[in-house]
Structure formats: C-alpha cells, structure tokens
C-alpha cells in the first residue's frame, strides 16, 4: 500500500518530467535536417541492434559547443538573469508592503483583500498582457492620463522597452510574492513588536530588527517563486518587450519556430534547466528549513 502511494508521485514525475526531458535531451544531441521531424538521426526499430548502434554513433554535443561559440546565447542567458533579478527585487518592493498591509488588516477584510490579489488570475494571462499593451502604448491610457494631467508634454515610450517587461513581470508574478510573505507575517506575534518597542526600538527599527528577519523565509520563498519562472519567461518579453529585449525564452522560441532548429532549441532548453536547478535546490532547502523551524 505504501509503495503504491509513493508510486503515484513517482509515476507522475516519470511521465511528465523525466520522459519529456529525455526526449528533449535526445533531440539536443541530434543534428538539424530538412525532414519531418526536422532532425536526424531518428530511431528506426526495424533495423534492430545495428540500427540502435548507428543511432547512438550519430549523437553528439555539437549543439552545446555551438551555444558557447555564438555570443547570442550566453548574452541572452545573462540578460535573462539580469531581468529576472531586477524584476524579483521590484516584485519584492511592491509585494512586501501589500502582504504587510493584508496581514495587519482587520480579520474580516483579509479574505476580500486576498480576493483582490487573486482575482486577475481568473482572466486569461494572455488577455491581461494584451491589456497592458493597451495601457502602455504611446496612445495608451497611461499616456493619455499623464498628458491630460499635464505631467508630460509628449507621450512616454514604454511599450516595447525593458520597462514594459518589468511592469508585466511584476504585475504577473506579484501574487507569488505576496502569498508566502503574508504567510510569514501572519504568524508573527504582535507582542514581539511590542517587546521590541518596550526595549527601546522605534517603530521603524522594530520593523527592521524583528519583522524583516522573521519574514525572511517568506521573502526567500517568494523571491524564488518569482525568479525561477521569470528567467525562462517568453510571453511577456515577446509581447511587451522590444526587439532589443533579449531573453532566453524568446531566443528559444525563435530557434524552435522561426529557425526550425529543434536540436539547438533543445540544447538551449536543457542548459536553461541546468541553470535553474541551482535556485530550485536553494528554494527546496529554504522550504525544508522553514518546516523544521515550524516544528
């Protein structure tokens, strides 16, 4: 019975992660070909043992070497990393006060405030990103309002720049930042803050010395939840970003659909996954620590 129970998540992982990964990895070792599917070699079972041998002989790491030779790729990885770090920090800056506000709000308001945070998720992600195009474009609502107030004389160019990408990412991933921080802040005993004040802290230093350290786990968890998907983000940079917004997700998409170079696209994906393993492991470790602290 126990084995059966454990088998379920393992089968899940096998079917939805290990097998697809193996397929992608295999394609990344293949060569580009004008064929369907657009790579070679393909495994032909009819030829038996010899066919299998020939198949393996043709696999190589050429595509990975190619990734190091063309500077587009490492620049894209680096740029993705930079954008992910900056957007994570921005999301934290916006999300922390919101989480704090909800945690300190009267009990009967909290459910409604949460609803407001989660409500946008009920609409299609794509529609929401398109909505941002309407807001940020040169004739968009934001520029119209700013021009009408008289803050600016000429419309700002936001859409198709990195700023639009940051806005889109912060907007999309905000709930992932708010929820873990809220969970940490909600557990925080108010008497700890009173104790800090009683011992000579101002409100601000009590926040800095007690609230922040005690919500550290939530901050770390939220940051990873934003950082990890942002690195490989594709929809937001391709819709809101400009031609100069370089992100690995976009490169991957172009390799795959525009160049139809499945092997290189697969290699890009495998490397991206390997890069992401580091933050994922760190995230898991943080979760583990949290569980131990809760005991």
């Amino acid at each position: 019975m126990r084995r059966l129970l454990i088998a379920v998540p393992f089968l899940w992982l096998l079917a939805l992660f290990i097998v697809p990964f193996a397929i992608v990895f295999k394609i990344s070792l293949s060569d580009l070909a004008v064929a369907i599917p657009p790579y070679t070699p393909t495994l032909d079972f009819a030829e038996g043992w010899a066919g299998l041998k020939a198949f393996y002989a043709e696999l190589d790491f050429e595509n990975y070497i190619w990734l190091t030779e063309d500077d587009l790729y490492w620049k894209a990885y680096l740029s993705s990393f930079k954008i992910a770090v900056i957007s994570t920090l921005l999301t934290l800056l916006v999300g922390y006060p919101i989480a704090y506000g909800i945690a300190r709000a009267p009990q009967e308001w909290r459910a409604m405030l949460f609803m407001l945070v989660i409500l946008p998720f009920w609409t299609s992600f794509l529609i929401r990103v398109y909505a941002w195009m309407g807001i940020l474009s040169q004739e968009g609502y934001l520029n119209q309002v700013l021009l009408w107030i008289g803050v600016i004389n000429e419309p700002l160019i936001i859409l198709n720049t990195n700023i639009a990408v940051y806005i889109g990412i912060v907007y999309t991933y905000l709930p992932f930042m708010i929820l873990p921080i809220y969970a940490a802040l909600e557990k925080l005993d108010i008497s700890l803050l009173e104790a800090a004040e009683d011992l000579g802290c101002s409100r601000f230093s009590a926040f800095w010395l007690v609230t922040i350290p005690l919500s550290k786990q939530g901050i770390i968890a939220g940051s990873f939840l934003v950082f990890i998907p942002t690195i490989g983000e594709f929809v937001i940079p391709s819709l809101l970003g400009g031609s100069r917004t370089l992100m690995i997700g976009k490169v991957l998409w172009e390799e795959f659909f525009s160049n139809r170079d499945w092997p290189v696209a697969s290699a890009v994906a495998v490397v991206l996954l390997l890069i992401l393993i580091i933050p994922i492991v760190l995230f898991q470790r943080n979760e583990q620590k949290q569980r131990e602290a809760d005991k």
Binding site: D189, E194, A196, E197, D198, L199, G200, V210, K216
Partner: protein, 374 residues
Amino acid sequence: MALDVFAPWDDPNAKPLIQFQNVTKRFGDFTAIDDLTVDIFEKEFFALLGPSGCGKTTMMRMLAGFETPTEGQILLAGQDIGAVPPNKRAVNMMFQSYALFPHLSIWENIAFGLKRDKMPKDQIGERVEEMLRLTRLEKFARRKPHQISGGQRQRVALARSLAKAPKLLLLDEPLGALDKKLRQETQFELMDIQETTGTTFVIVTHDQEEAMTVASRVAVMDHGQIVQVSTPDVIYEAPNSTYVADFIGDVNLISGKADPQDDKLHMHWAEGQPAVVGSPLDGAAKGQDVHYAIRPEKVSISAEKPENAANTIQGEVHDIAYLGNISTYHVKLAGGQIIKAQSANNRRISRRAFTWEDKVWLSWTDTAGVFLER
C-alpha cells in the same frame, strides 16, 4: 528588635513612584478603566488581581505606553508619562507570551535592549553575563528560545526585561504558562530577584494565590475599578466587600438584617437559626441589609455543642472534600443552607471523626468573621 516594616503606603511623606490620577480608558463604548486613582511606591511588589476583562491588563499596558489614558493622567516619579512612547520610558515589561525573539539567541535576546541604548560592547557583555547569572541561565546563552524549556524561557524573559535596569518592571501573568510546582518555585525566585535588584514590580495576575504570595500589596479589580488595595493579610482577613471576600480564597457568605446590640452586631439571617454575632460594622442601623463573611478554616466542627462559643449552629455533614492536608466539610443546616468548615487532617483518614450524614455542631468566635455592607 523589631524589623523595620516596609510600608510606604502608610507614610504620608512617602513619594509614590507611580500615580494614577482619575484615569479612564475607553475602547469605543467599552470602558476598560473607570476613573481609577491609585499610588504605587518604589520597591513595591504590587499585584493587580482580578478576573479576565476587569481592566488589569489595560492598566499595565498604559504603564508600558501601549495605550494612552482617555482621561486623567499617569505620573511616573512625578512626570506625566501619557505622551511618552514605550521606547522612551524607563519601564520594561515581561510579556505573558514572553515574546522572546525566535531568531536571536538567549544572549542576544537579553542584549537586545542594551544595544538599542548604544551601550559600549564590553558593558553589554558584562550586563548580559550578570543577568544570566541572576537567572541561572549561563549554560543556555548560545541557544535559541525554542531550544529551552518553558521555565527557562520565563527566566530569559525576566532577564531581558531587567537588563536595562528599569525603574519599573511590569509582569503580565508571568507564571501563567508554567505548571503548578514550577510556578510556586518561580514565585519565590521572583521575590528574591525583586529584593536583590530593588526594582519596583507590578504584576498582573488572575491567580489569587500567586498575588498573595509575591505581592507587598494587592489591588483587587472589577469592571475597571479597584475594589480594594491592601496588603495580602488585610485583603484576606478584612475584605471590604463580598466581591473581594469571594474572589480571594474560600468563604461562607450569609446575608441578613443587622441588629446592633451593645458593642456587638447581631445579624438575623434565617428562621429558627440563632443570630450571627460579630464585631460591629460602622453605621449599620437596625434592620439594614448586611452580609457576613467567614472563612471555612475559622469554623470549627465538633460532635458535641461547644460551650462559650459566640456562634453555634447545628447541621448535618453533606459532603466532604478531602484535600490531603485538610478536609472541607459541607454542612447542611436545617434550612438547607450549606456552611463550609475546614479542619486539618492531623489524623489518618481512617480515623476521621466525621462522616457523611453525621450530626455536627459548627462554631466560631465573634471575631472570626466580618460584617460587610456590600
């Protein structure tokens, strides 16, 4: 040579450390503290005692600075502290939940307040070590709060609140989370520490035994008002109301009509029962409603009618509560009323003099109980 008794409240020249002057605190419609005036003196161990919701915690939080009085003022050493924020008061508080910082070690917890005062590093070290010694926590300095026991946490909380050498230490139900045995030990520790440091302590508690044990004076509170402030023995022996008598310890309360005779007060209280005789109550007129309070341990129980006792009543043993060292007899009178009498079990239980449904005589002297107006 008589010991010099510590009783600044009887000295008209003594300057109180804390003065509540007509303090009222309202939360919306609810009046938590109602026109309260009380003085607390230096080096006192002052207990605020009352049921939950009586306003004792509000009083303490006003002293700490977490609440401000709606009306009236609170003086600390003659200064109005109403507008002073908690971090600027020479007052520290030990929280009911202890409120130890979970992310800091015991050492850092104790040093927390000292660091805020920008004390030089070596002095902080010295002071923390001193506090650790005082509370016998030297071995645990490097541990985190969740790695020590409840009793040790309680001592850390005490050490942390004492570290800044406050003029006044507030203790909010400090022993509430400890089991009974540890609580009793800790009560004496608290008293020792209070004596050693010479700090004024104000303790909030709902445990009357705790208040009686540790405090130099006890304030019994009800509905935002102090009903009586006095030393534990006066509170117990001479309560000023049935509320205080009933709140502190076990008591028999009887109501009846006053009948002053010579230098004694008689009270007629039930058909066919002799009047209760006791010391007079000021201003009690004949026929006025009065109450009589007598502690069970002051009622003797005997098989034969005792001679020369001022008060004697016959009844039947209805129930016996055996508590080991003492037994409480619930004696049912002819009219159905129950009077509790306590006697020490100085014999083994098998040789107990009375058992259920025995006819017994209850008796007490004319000074054993007190008459109360309300």
